[in-house]
């Protein structure tokens, strides 16, 4: 029996529980099934992704980032934070001092999107760089 067998079994149970929670929120059975299959597929992929180390002794929280992946994630998060802060500050300054108008709420969505894109782009580039 491989070291990961217990991990896979426990993640299957967690995925089933997640599907149950979906059903409790009033979702259709097929939506719950997608949640179960999607989350279990992610749990199957995670140990082989190079992003996580499996520490089976930790039980439900067996997936951990190692120090390199944690460093990459932290850097990507910082990059995203800087982009969102600078763009947000720029937009607020523009609407506050130049346009003298209310900032459209839809811009907040774009602001968040720019942060998300920066995070994943940074994460990808930093991983490729080593």
């Amino acid at each position: 029996m491989s070291k990961l067998t217990g991990y896979y079994f426990s993640r299957f149970v967690i995925s089933i529980v997640l599907g149950g929670l979906f059903l409790l929120t009033g979702a259709a059975w097929w939506q719950a099934l997608i949640a179960v299959l999607g989350s279990f597929a992610w749990f199957l992929w995670a140990p082989h992704s190079g992003r996580y180390v499996v520490r089976t002794e930790k039980g439900a929280t067996a997936l951990h980032r190692d120090e390199r992946t944690q460093r990459i994630t932290n850097q990507a998060g910082r990059n995203a934070w800087v982009i969102v802060t600078v763009l947000g500050g720029g937009l607020a300054s523009y609407y506050g001092f130049l346009a003298i108008a209310d900032m459209p709420v839809s811009l907040l969505g774009l602001l968040l999107l720019s942060g998300v894109i920066t995070f994943f782009a940074s994460d990808y580039i930093l991983r490729r760089r080593g």
């Binding site: 190692d66 120090e67 390199r68």
Partner: protein, 70 residues
């Protein structure tokens, strides 16, 4: 600070695969690959763990690139 290492050489001398070494020190295989390529400098803790698993002195495994830190 540029740090060089001979992790690959000593790992091979110990007849360990990258996966075995990664499991032994609790990191991903990609971290071992990055380390052996010299594109990642480990923490002191990881360097000490590697030295322990590879039965080598840490200063034998890692050193500053010549001209650096002198």
């Amino acid at each position: 600070m540029p740090v060089e290492n001979r992790v690959k050489e000593i790992r091979q001398n110990n007849q360990l695969t990258q996966i075995q070494l990664a499991d032994a020190v609790g990191v991903t295989r990609q971290t071992i690959i990055a380390l052996e390529k010299g594109s990642y400098t480990p923490s002191v803790g990881l360097a000490l763990k590697l030295a322990q698993v590879l039965n080598a002195r840490v200063e034998h495994l890692f050193w500053l690139r010549s001209g650096e830190g002198e």
